[in-house]
């Protein structure tokens, strides 16, 4: 049923319909509305789950780790500093192959303290062994949670659903919220395998010496790679059941005869599509490639759709300080070495700490790369502030 509601509530309502057994979270802006709503649903008896209020994100992640190891469908949500505080547990959850789902309400990282959106937080854990799916809008954010539990439990891998903080979490828009029976038909009950249970005593979390450790990490890497197929399949199944395209590995917009292709993740895709439509009326052919599955990174798919595209423009909301664009590196790596030479890949770090990415900023970026590719640019910087502060 189509409902007009906040992004956070679209997510919390769908998460509740996924019937998690244990939810644990620590409040942090802009994730709070998700946890508050889930706490209310548990409190009012509308969701039969244990809701554990903890003393830190570190413990929230540890509680869901324990719950998942004991056979529960477990869910948590955080952002920014909270995700950084969880970091050690995040790696552990993946290494232990626990199918936990986490919503990351993407937010900037301190310092300076900043509660607004960018994607630096989830980027810091991109190598941890989690599947990372990025939502474009609130409908997709809600839908991805249904898919996330299914993918996680099928692959024994944790899944992080990333949605831009405030821009999505606090935005009201119409979202088609499914019926409980539709969700039940799509997402079967969790059938855990390796769990702590006195009926079948086993050790979970044993340490591995140099004879075994590398194989465990290799198998984990392979599982991430294999999950590409499952992410695609689950998205296709979802489309069949619910009649709309959500998730999957990537999406494209007007890419077929485009001269320039913009590549991005998350909510800024909406603004970019508007720009593409405007440019089309001016006779410019620009397309969009949206990465939904950032990890695993769908290298082959990216190559397939970009094979003939020579002018690429990456808009990304994070940076590897001292190196440059991160998503840009992933895109560059998607092409065979022989094809890298003539291809122009321009990287624009944009929207850090909630800096608005306007349609005009994006137009400027397109105009820049029409003339000449850029290695690394920062979109919308204020030169006065830099002149006053740069040492």
């Amino acid at each position: 049923m189509l409902k007009y509601l906040e992004g956070s509530h679209a997510v919390s309502q769908v998460v509740a319909m996924c019937r998690p057994n244990v939810i644990s979270a620590y409040p942090i802006t802009p994730q709070t509305h998700i946890v508050e709503d889930l706490a209310r649903l548990v409190g009012e008896g509308k969701l039969d789950a244990e809701f554990i209020n903890v003393e830190s994100e570190f413990s929230a992640a540890s509680v869901v780790l324990g719950a998942s190891a004991a056979g529960a469908r477990a869910y948590t949500t955080t952002t920014s500093q909270g995700l950084l505080l969880m970091n050690e547990v995040i790696y552990c959850i993946a290494g232990m192959r626990l199918p936990i789902v986490l919503t990351c309400a993407n937010r900037a990282i301190s310092a300076p303290l900043n509660i607004w959106n960018d994607q630096q937080d989830s980027m810091t854990v991109r190598d941890a062994g989690w599947i990372q799916l990025h939502a474009e809008d609130n409908q997709e954010a809600a839908d991805l949670h249904m898919q996330a539990f299914k993918i996680a439990e099928q692959m024994h891998l944790p899944v992080m659903v990333c949605m831009d903080g405030f821009i999505l979490t606090h935005a009201f828009e119409p979202v088609d919220i499914p019926e409980q029976k539709e969700v039940d038909a799509f997402l079967p009950p969790f059938k855990p395998q390796n769990i702590v249970d006195p009926r079948w005593p086993r050790g979970i979390g044993l340490y591995a010496d140099p004879r075994f450790y590398m194989e465990v990490r290799y198998i984990l890497h392979r599982a991430l790679e294999k999950s590409e197929k499952v992410i695609k399949q689950v998205s296709e199944d979802f489309a069949k059941k619910f009649g709309r395209q959500s998730g999957g590995l990537l999406k494209t917009y007007k890419i077929e005869d485009a001269d320039i292709v913009i590549i991005t993740m998350g909510s800024v895709a909406g603004t970019i599509k508007d720009l593409i439509d405007q440019l089309e009326t001016e006779g410019k052919k620009v397309g969009l490639l949206q990465i939904c599955s950032y990890r695993p990174f769908p290298r082959k798919e990216v190559y397939r759709v970009l094979k003939d595209k020579m002018n690429l423009l990456v808009i990304e909301k994070s940076i590897s300080l001292g190196r440059g664009g991160i998503l840009g590196s992933d895109v560059r790596w998607s092409f065979p070495r022989t094809e890298k030479k003539d291809r122009k890949i321009s990287c624009f770090v944009s929207g850090l700490g909630g800096r608005n990415i306007s349609i005009n900023d994006l137009r400027t970026a397109v105009e820049m790369v029409e003339h000449e590719p850029v290695e690394l640019e920062f979109l919308g910087l204020n030169p006065d502030i830099i002149a006053a502060r740069d040492l």
């Binding site: 057994n21 903890v54 540890s62 324990g66 719950a67 190891a69 004991a70 050790g203």
Partner: protein, 297 residues
Amino acid sequence: MITASSEDLYKVEKKDLFASGHRACGGCGQALAARLVADAAGENTIACVATGCLEIFSSPYPDPSWRIPFLHSLFENISAVASGVEAAYKALKKGPVNIIAQGGDGGTADIGFQSISGMFERGHNVLYVCYDNEAYMNTGVQRSSFTPFGAKTTTTPMGNTTRKKNLPLIAADHGIPYVATATVDDFRDLQRKVKTALLINGPKYLHILAPCPLGWGHTGDLTVAICRLAKATGLFPVYEIINGKVANVLKIQEKKPVEDYLRLQGRYRHLFKKGVPVKEVAEIQEIANQNIERFNL
């Protein structure tokens, strides 16, 4: 309230649920304690173990020593992990099951302090067992907040200048229903406390003094004797706190000077110059005297 018969509570259990063949040093107090805890708790138990000596010597893949389910993830989070296991059992309407979180003094009182406090305050039905060997032994004997005054560790080479954190009392002040201390020489008392704790619903804390021959500088055959001296000097008071009230304090039969305890251990050797005690020994005696007065030992 506690309803088991005293015969059951005082029976010494030997089930080998923590099997031999693990990799602890000879005379390790923690290995002995872990076996006593597992055997007292019985088969229907989940052991959640923090990173540390116990985890390392008992859980190398593929040869764990545990015959009960064993769960390990990190160093500082075992109380939260055990909370999650308990929440899962509740949510899945499984159980009852004994959930025992276990860690060394560093994993409990330093890096795991926030996590254990959270578990106590939220009221999870979990028994936490702290194996107190008074330093970070797994990494090579570095100071923890449980390292006693005067003791030499690799990071307090001149002797520790602070007094030991009193976690049993901090635990009790969380308002949890059961706190106890024990030593590994007294099997019956230790196992009675495990069994007693597991009959009580809510968070429980059991603090076990577990000598470490390597870190304390004594031969393995002295583990039991050193525990007895720790009690006889008043340095390690043995008691229970049931619903906030101190109970069953172990009275000292024949009081011993702290020197008797200190002289057996290499970590205190620097406190005796040519056999003569330095002034720190008097302060350690003062700590023992305060314990004797406080708990009426």
